[in-house]
């Protein structure tokens, strides 16, 4: 599958970027500094692609490697 990153500007101005080949999503501030990472202790992300923020401030992440969409709190 493709390794192309997706990004989403969150309501607080930070930017969520998916890194499919690293199986992770990172949160950056506008200057490019890393402000958080979406992590899981078990059942890790599987090739995350597109993301969207919910009305109540959560993040739906598409997991292309396993064919599902999962919701995470934004770190």
């Amino acid at each position: 599958m493709d390794d192309k990153p997706y990004l989403r500007v969150l309501r607080d101005g930070r930017i969520a970027v998916s890194l499919p080949s690293l199986n992770t999503v990172r949160i950056y501030d506008a200057s490019g500094a890393v402000k958080g990472t979406v992590t899981t202790e078990q059942d890790p992300l599987s090739r995350p692609y597109g993301m969207v923020e919910t009305l109540d401030g959560k993040l739906w992440i598409v997991e292309g490697g396993i064919g599902r969409v999962r919701q995470f709190p934004i770190p």
Binding site: S31, G50, T54, L55, V62
Partner: protein, 1004 residues
């Protein structure tokens, strides 16, 4: 009166059975030990033979053996043989075909191999013979390949039989041993071409032995005894000894002048071995003929349809070598030679012609076999370095090796002809196998066997050095103590925790202490007992690890390549999948008529051809060579290289069998060849073809010695010998139980209504799955599949103002709508004509317009499509394929892979046009507004823009994939260009605000 002759009383003649039953066998300790050892050897060789997945080569051999009893076998030099195909075919004929019975004939030969040292008892002695039987019984290499249907256990049996018969003949002069020697040679030649290497070693040894014995005859006749004269005589005679033997009857004058009174028995063996080998070397005559252009290169090849002229040429060459051999043999001992050569030729040709049903076997055997084997030398299959067996032997046969090397003084300098023969056999074969281009772990068998015999000889020699002076019975308990102390000391040293200098010193201390205790135990028996105690302590110390290696390889993980012995091995997943296939065939009622597709790319047809031998509708198709074939295949087994292609084809199908997601499994795997890179002397990995790391290069040894630290290769190597496990991470436990091994993988596709857990057909709910939670309670929806609400390759998601979610799937081309909680609402195929297979499409991006219109970026359909919030096409479709000429400036609607979409405050859509390194702005109706950017790394320029997102302040962020990237694999923090800094090394993308901000300003 005539005297009546009184008939002589009739001597009672007993029947053979009666005579057999009247044989009395005295029950001795020695016999009891043999019985126990053979019982153990039987158990080890026949226990649970079918548990391990059939190796790639095993499956070929089993399949061909199975085919033989159905008349489908013909000798092919590529697959060696044919002896063991016949042996195994006989097993199948009697017991039927199964994974267990496929390994019965190697196990039988493995048992026979263990018994052969009994024929050498005269040289090994009683204790040495027991030791030989024991070493062969428990040898990790010998046992593993005695439970493995490859040629090597058969060949090892025949070579050991040759060695035993040779010495029995040289001791007794009885022709039956010569016949056995010749038949064993024939058996080995009808098994594997590597026999040529071992025969070369035997020929060299016999030649030198003949030279030695002729020199001794000469010196004895002349009353000489000087050592230097003896050595000079051997050196002088050895180059011609073979010729002297061959022309013995014609050399009367020469013999008299050198006082050679009689042809030594070693000369008889040399004549038999030489004359039997010569015709089998005929194929080598093609080398000079091709070199001097007498025949075209590669022309003289055996095949059924070869021209009569070529047949005549090959036949003529055979006539020359056979007549040469017959000339030597018949002038030696006509009757004996004719009988032996005739018997061997009959056996050989019977096997190669498949019981006289394949005339081409007469050529494919003696000519084709050597021809193919010689050509493979340059192929260097496996590309293993020269030191390959210097790794394998210490890793598995350290017990006999330690005894061989430790007892070298006895066996070489103080030894006899037999012990020196064992050294020549071991050393010569070792060098020959190391020279050969193809090095494989199963060839280690041919080093393990002579090592075991030589080690056994050493055991007897150690005992003989002391036994006459002491009562052995009194020493049994002290000897046992030495063994236990040796074992305890080494086990303690091996498992003592910690690393660094101090623990290493402690380990050395433990070993020294154990050796001192063993030495102290031997003291009451005198100095000459020390050797025996040392040997017993060494055997005791190493037995634990030898048994551990043996059990691990043969019984615990025989098909998981943590052992160097395991190479191109079929993974255990294959028989496990086979149980699923059999269960599915039964559940569907299709039985052996169930259609199955096997991707044959990269020889993936094996071992499936064996496992699916009973199935009548199996298609073996190379999926890399064309589209996924249509057909009602209930199971598809697909090479990993063709998985994306298969998934894409299945996602586009609108009819036929629906499959669940492919189950990934390792198909073939092998031991991690980390030793190649460990021997990198500055020229890359050390292999047969590369690395500049030969044994005669100073750099090789400086590399070895410069890494002899406590934490470097010696520690790694000792740890491997202890554990036989390199460790390493295990990325996906269910897929790869072996963390560090290499593999080629595959996927098995079963119908979606097949439950692999219960092995039964189930009724699947066709309704969309409900949202659920993961193991940590996080909400989730979807799942792999083609039901509504499921995905095959989801890539992007958007949310509308009401919170509804839209997900686009790149392979199924479906756009699906869900409510805010993930409940399925609607679906649509985004293609214009979904039934048209020529319509290109692969959507990767989504956007939601302020009015709720859903916009799809169909990346490889080169277009934008829009849908209403209820997923009805609006009719707006624009974009076209890019101009293939990169020099032509892209037009307004040329889209070289539209990747993603975002909207500005005016409701215009911003589309990332990845291949053109630009952003193109359109109205929602598809009218061109403007294009932004261009190729480059400066402000406002892009290099493969991908994701795009609008910020609340009207700015846009773009994931600019290659700008600032120094590596496509290592991605680190992004860098904002607005701050003036560039992405550092390792960054793979960067955000650009400068460009986006200016563009936003312009749009206002």
């Amino acid at each position: 009166m005539t005297a009546r002759s009184i008939p002589a009383p009739r001597v009672a003649r007993s029947a053979p059975l009666e005579r057999l039953l009247s044989i009395r066998i005295a029950l001795t300790w020695e016999l009891a030990i043999y019985v126990a050892l053979f019982a153990i050897a039987f158990g080890l060789r026949f226990w649970d033979l079918g548990a391990r997945a059939l190796h790639h080569d095993e499956s070929i051999h089993a399949q061909w053996s199975w085919g033989l009893i159905q008349g489908n076998y013909r000798h092919d030099p590529v697959f060696h043989g044919p002896l063991y195909y016949h042996a195994q075919g006989l097993v199948f004929l009697v017991f039927g075909a199964s994974d267990y019975t496929a390994r019965v004939s190697p196990a039988i030969f493995g048992m026979a191999l263990v018994a052969l040292p009994l024929l050498m008892r005269r040289w090994l002695g009683p204790v040495g013979t027991i030791a030989a039987v024991a070493f062969l019984t428990f040898s990790p290499t010998v046992l593993y390949y005695s439970r493995f249907i490859r040629e090597d256990v058969y060949m090892a049996f025949f070579i050991l039989a040759m060695a035993a018969a040779m010495w029995r003949y040289m001791a007794s002069g009885r022709d039956r041993w010569l016949l056995m020697f010749a038949l064993a040679f024939t058996g080995s030649m009808a098994t594997k071409e590597a026999t040529y290497l071992v025969v070369a070693v035997f020929l060299v040894y016999l030649d030198v032995l003949v030279a030695t014995e002729l020199t001794e005859q000469s010196m004895k006749a002349n009353g000489q005894a000087e050592r230097s004269r003896r050595i000079a005589g051997i050196v002088f005679t050895a180059p011609f000894a073979w010729a002297v033997v061959a022309l013995w009857p014609f050399l009367g004058g020469v013999r008299r002048s050198f006082s050679w009174s009689a042809l030594p028995r070693s000369g008889d063996v040399l004549i038999i071995l030489g004359t039997l080998t010569l015709p089998l070397l005929t194929a080598l005559t093609a080398i000079p003929l091709e070199h001097f252009s007498v025949v075209d290169k590669g022309r003289l090849v055996c095949r059924a349809d070869m021209p009569a002229r070529d047949s005549m040429a090959i036949g003529g060459l055979f006539a020359i070598t056979i007549s040469g051999a017959a000339f030597v043999g018949l002038q030696w001992r006509p009757r004996t030679w004719a009988l032996i050569a005739g018997a061997c030729a009959f056996v050989y040709l019977t096997l190669f012609t498949s019981l006289w049903t394949n005339a081409n076997g007469i050529c494919s055997g003696p000519w084709g076999g050597l021809n193919y084997w010689w050509s493979q030398h340059d192929v260097v299959r496996g590309d293993q370095p020269w030191f390959y067996y210097y790794l394998l032997m210490p890793a598995y046969e350290f017990l006999p090796l330690v005894l061989c090397i430790g007892g070298a003084w006895w066996s070489l300098w103080r030894g006899n002809a037999f012990s020196r023969f064992l050294w020549v056999w071991l050393g010569g074969t070792w060098l020959a196998l190391s020279w050969a281009g193809e090095k494989m772990p199963w060839l280690n068998m041919h080093l393990a066997v002579p090592a075991c015999i030589l080690a056994a000889w050493t055991v007897q020699r150690a005992l003989t050095a002391w036994q006459p002076r002491e009562d052995l019975r009194r020493a049994i308990l002290p000897l046992a103590s030495a063994a236990v102390v040796g074992a305890g000391g080494l086990v303690l040293a091996a498992y003592l925790p910690g690393s660094g200098a101090l623990p290493a010193l402690a380990r050395v201390g433990v070993v020294v202490f154990a050796a001192a205790v063993a030495w102290w135990t031997s003291q009451p028996f005198g100095r000459r007992a020390l050797g025996t105690f040392a040997v017993v302590a060494a055997v005791g110390a190493l037995s634990f690890f030898s048994l551990k290696a043996m059990i691990g390889a043969s019984f615990e993980r025989g098909d998981v390549p943590k052992d160097m012995l395991i190479y191109t091995q079929s993974a255990p997943d294959i028989p496990r999948l086979m149980t699923q296939i059999d269960a599915l065939a039964e559940a569907t009622g299709l039985g052996y008529d169930m259609p199955i597709l096997v991707d044959s790319m990269d020889s993936f047809a094996w071992p499936w051809a064996w496992y699916l031998r009973d199935y009548r509708r199996v298609g073996y198709i190379d999926l890399s060579q064309g589209p996924l074939p249509t057909g009602d295949y209930r199971v598809m087994l697909v090479n990993q290289a063709n998985i994306p292609k298969t998934d894409a084809a299945l996602a586009e199908r609108t009819s036929g069998i629906e499959y669940a997601k492919g189950i990934p499994y390792p198909h073939r795997w092998w031991f991690d060849e980390v030793y190649k890179s460990a021997m990198d002397t500055g020229h890359g990995s050390c292999t047969a073809k590369a690395g500049d790391c030969g044994p005669f290069k100073p750099g090789t040894w400086s590399h070895v010695f410069s890494h002899m630290g406590l934490s470097e290769w010696p520690a790694t190597w000792l740890r491997y010998i202890r554990d036989h496990d390199l460790g390493g991470t295990i990325p996906h436990e269910s897929v790869r139980p072996c963390g560090s091994c290499g593999s080629v993988n595959a996927a098995a596709y079963f119908p979606v209504d097949w439950d692999t857990k219960t092995k039964s057909l189930v009724l699947r709910d066709i309704a969309a799955p409900k949202p659920t939670v993961d193991a940590s309670g996080r909400p989730m929806f979807g799942g792999f599949g083609r039901l509504p609400g499921q995905f095959t390759a989801p890539v992007d998601i958007e949310r509308d103002a009401q919170g509804n979610l839209y997900v686009i799937d790149s392979t199924s081309k479906r756009l699906q709508k869900f409510d805010a909680n993930g409940n399925f609402l609607a679906t649509v195929d985004i293609r214009v004509s979904p039934g048209d297979t020529n319509e290109g499409s692969q959507p990767w991006g989504l956007g939601i317009a302020p009015d709720g219109t859903v916009v799809v970026a169909d990346t490889f359909g080169w277009r934008i499509r829009t849908f209403t919030p209820d997923l009805v096409p609006t009719g707006v479709t624009f974009g076209k394929a890019p101009n293939p000429d990169p020099a032509v400036k892209p037009g307004e609607f040329d889209l070289y892979g539209p990747r993603d979409v975002a909207f500005d405050r005016q409701g215009n859509m911003w589309v990332t046009d990845g291949g053109h390194d630009r952003i193109v702005v359109y109205t929602l109706k598809g009218e061109f507004v403007r294009a932004i950017g261009g190729t480059g790394s400066g402000p406002g320029q892009f290099d493969e823009p991908v994701g795009i997102a609008a910020a609340p302040n009207g700015s846009f962020y773009v994931a600019d994939m290659f700008n600032g990237a120094s590596s496509s694999s290592a991605r680190t923090a992004p860098t904002s260009r607005s701050s003036g800094s560039k992405a550092g090394p390792g960054a793979a993308w960067t955000t650009s605000r400068t460009c986006a901000s200016s563009a936003t300003d312009a749009s206002r």
